[in-house]
Every structure is written in C-alpha cells, then in structure tokens.
C-alpha cells in the first residue's frame, strides 16, 4: 500500500504523511521525484531519522519521533504551519483511516466508549490539504468492510477523500464524486472487492 501510495507523489509536491503506513510512503518515493515533506508541528523539508547518538530533542516530527533536517528545510510556528495546511498550500496528504464512506467522509480519530487520545492535526489536514489519500486495510479484524455507505464512527472530515488505497486495490473518486475501482491488488478479483465493500462504488 505504501509503495502504491508513493506513486501519487509527483515531482515538486509538498506533502504531509500521517502516522503508520503513510510514514512508510517516504521510503518508496521514486528516484528523480522531488518531494518536500511537511511535519505539522512546524517544519518543511523533513529529513530521515538521525544516526544513533545524533538525536536532537529540539527536532521531532508530528509523531514525536526524532528526525533530521535537510538543506531545504525551514521551521515555523504551529499557527503558520496550519495556515499552510488550511490555506491549501499542501499538495497531498496521505493518512490512515478507520472508516471511509462512499461520499468521501473519513473517520479516524475516535471510537465511542474507548479512551480518546484526540484528533491532533487530522481534522485540519483533511479539511485543508488539496488532495487527501487514505491507506487502510479494506476490512477490519472481524472481516467487516471499512469502506462504507456511511461512516458509523464520529467523523474527522466530510467529503474530503479523493482516493482510497487498500490491500485489495485502488479506488479513485471521479468527477461525479463517486469512487471507482481503478486498480486491483495482485491476485484480487473484482468479486472479492465487491464482497468486501459496503460502499456503492463503480466497478467498471
């Protein structure tokens, strides 16, 4: 999924990658594609993890991991960081999700009854970034679809997801605002996708 998502990063893009699978996307950015990564705690031009012994407590990413700076890096405060996000200056965000609905809603921050850690910057990202792509498992542990007619969990954002990449395939939102299966993962059949998708999407 991370490998497939990386293909969505175009040359010259400024992108924000969420925690989890999206973080791995950075490892698969194709050669010759120049992408600048934003970290919403206040940095553009995020570099790789530091070598052991070179960690800087004043330099972390939005997942609170130690990172490094690049020659192109710049730092700014949280208000300026989210001005960048809210103002539509970030080309692409790749993030995880608990549920996605057929009209592009996303739920990824709370499960009622469980301890809620907070939405962090997720609501700002889905509302502000030009193009949001979700990577997630197509079904939950019980085998139920996470790609739904309507989300059952509290929403993170409304009508904001342009593409969903799951272990079963790639689902692109078209001009008519409906999702269409655009790619199938190896050894996955359209029937399998149909069986595991509750959302009303286009299969042709």
């Amino acid at each position: 999924m991370a490998r497939r998502a990386a293909l969505e990063l175009k040359d010259g893009y400024y992108a924000n990658l969420g925690i989890g699978i999206p973080t791995l996307v950075a490892n698969y950015i194709p050669d010759g594609v120049d992408v600048t990564l934003q970290s919403e705690n206040g940095m553009l031009g995020m570099g790789p993890f530091p070598y052991e012994g070179e960690e800087d407590p004043d330099l972390i990413n939005a997942g609170k991991q130690t990172i490094t700076e690049l020659r192109r890096s710049s730092y700014f405060n949280s208000a300026d960081s989210f001005a960048m996000i809210r103002g539509g200056h970030i080309d692409l965000s790749i993030l995880g999700a608990m549920e996605i609905s057929e009209n592009g809603d996303i739920a990824n921050w709370m499960i009622p009854g469980k301890m809620v850690k907070g939405m962090g910057g997720a609501m700002d990202l889905v509302a502000g970034v030009k193009r949001c792509i979700v990577t997630m498992d197509h079904t939950n542990r019980a085998g139920a679809s996470k790609f739904l007619k309507a989300c059952t969990l509290p929403l993170t954002g409304l009508n904001c997801i342009a593409m969903v990449i799951t272990d079963l395939g790639v689902f692109e939102r078209e001009e008519n605002d409906r999702f269409r299966v655009s790619e199938l993962a190896p050894d996955v059949t359209l029937d399998e996708v149909k069986a595991k998708t509750e959302a009303d999407i286009i299969y042709t």
Partner: protein, 235 residues
C-alpha cells in the same frame, strides 16, 4: 531594562499564580516545553488550573507533574495520548477535557493575542467539533466560527532571549510558543541562553520583547519521547 530578568523560575512566577487561573504552556509533546516554569507552577500550589497546551506531558514530566498533584481542573489540547494518569483522571471524571483540532487551537491562540475574537474555518465542519458553534457560508461552502483564546499566564520556552525579552526558538521546539507568548496577560519565558540586548539580529527575532514580561535562563533536561534512529550506512 533588566527589569524583566528574574533569577529563578520560582521568582518569575511569584505573585502571578492563583486558584482557578488559566495557563498556556508551549511545546509539542515534550519538545519545547517550559520545563522549569511548569515545576515552579506545581510548587506554587495553585489549584483548579485550566491548562491550554497541545499535549498533557507524560507521567512524571511536563504537565504530567500537575496532573499527579491534581492541580489541573481542565485541559484544552489536541492530543493527550501519552499519559496514564491523565487517562485515569479523565475516565474517573476528575478532569475536564476540551479537544481542539491542532490547527484550530494554534489559530485560536494567535487570534487571542491579535485581538481577533472570532474567525471562520472549514476544519471540523460536519464533526462533533462543530456542535453548538455558529456557522456561516462563504462562496457556497460552510465554515464554523472559532473564538480567540487568551490566558492569565503564558509559560513559554525559547532557545535564546535578550534582557528586553526578544526571543528566538530552535527548530521544531518553536511550535506553540510564539503564539502563546502573545496570548498571555503575563508571559513568562525560560531560555537556554540569556544574552545582552543587541546580541540578536533584529531581522531574525521570532518574538518581540513587547510580549514578554518576565524571563529566566534555566537548564532544561529536554527529554526525548520517542528516540528513532537509522543505521549507519543506510540511506
């Protein structure tokens, strides 16, 4: 000129703490938090504090210290994942919690400091965050109104400061600190390095001294929450 400079965190807080006060504390995770001022706030004994901070520290460090002693009545944060005592108090309903999307919170604090009582954002439209908030349409799209935030005392961590209170921050330790510096009725800063006025290039001051009432130099532990490294020889 040196009227802003104090010797210790305790002295810097002297006379400014009270029960029911509202405090902002800078930092993202444990990065760029005013460690020494938080300890002094705990030691002041102030109760029923409303604390505005992106996170709630960890057990035994940062704002976690004030949770242990039950001095915090209410937290306003965007993410509080790393704190068991927080979870315990919250589930036992001993602690109020108001979640804010991180960008909304950053902007609310900037707005408070900038004399802007309200602004509109798309963030949170259609979610629980929008509940009870006024909405307005612009160009056919719905936005929600968020309000500006100020506080009684803002606790700020900077890298370098001069005796007039002009400040510079280091790397991602900047985060919420500059906005909070503008939003405190009183702003208290701890810096790694206190220098004479005129040392810092006026072109590259992040926070002007006008926002700073008190400043101390203090040694920070700078604990790292998640050490992540790559192997030497790796890309």
């Amino acid at each position: 000129m040196s009227k802003k400079v104090f010797e210790t965190a305790e002295q810097a807080l002297d006379g400014l703490t009270f029960d029911g006060m509202c405090v902002m504390a800078g930092g993202f995770g444990l990065c760029g938090i005013p460690e020494n001022l938080i300890v002094a706030l705990r030691d002041s004994g102030a109760q029923n504090i409303t604390a505005i901070s992106n996170n709630a520290g960890v057990d035994g460090f940062g704002l976690g210290l004030l949770l242990e002693t039950r001095q915090i009545k209410k937290m306003m944060s965007s993410y509080v994942g790393e704190n068991k005592e927080f979870e315990r108090q919250f589930l036992a309903k001993e602690l109020e919690l108001e979640f804010n999307p991180q960008g909304t919170m950053a902007e609310r604090i900037r707005a408070g400091g900038a004399g802007i009582p309200g602004f509109y954002t798309k963030t949170g439209v259609g979610t629980v965050i929008a509940d009870g908030k006024p909405t307005r349409e612009f160009d056919g799209e719905t936005y929600i109104m968020e309000t500006g935030l100020t506080c009684d005392v803002a606790l700020v961590k900077a890298w370098r400061g001069d005796t007039q209170g002009n400040l510079q921050y280091n790397k991602t330790a900047r985060n919420f600190n500059p906005m909070m510096a503008t939003a405190g009725k009183i702003t208290i800063v701890e810096v790694d390095e206190l220098v004479e006025v005129g040392t810092i290039d006026p072109n590259f001051i992040h926070t002007s001294g006008i926002f700073v009432q008190r400043i101390i130099q203090a040694k920070c532990e700078k604990r790292i929450e998640k050490v992540t490294t790559r192997e030497r020889g790796a890309a």
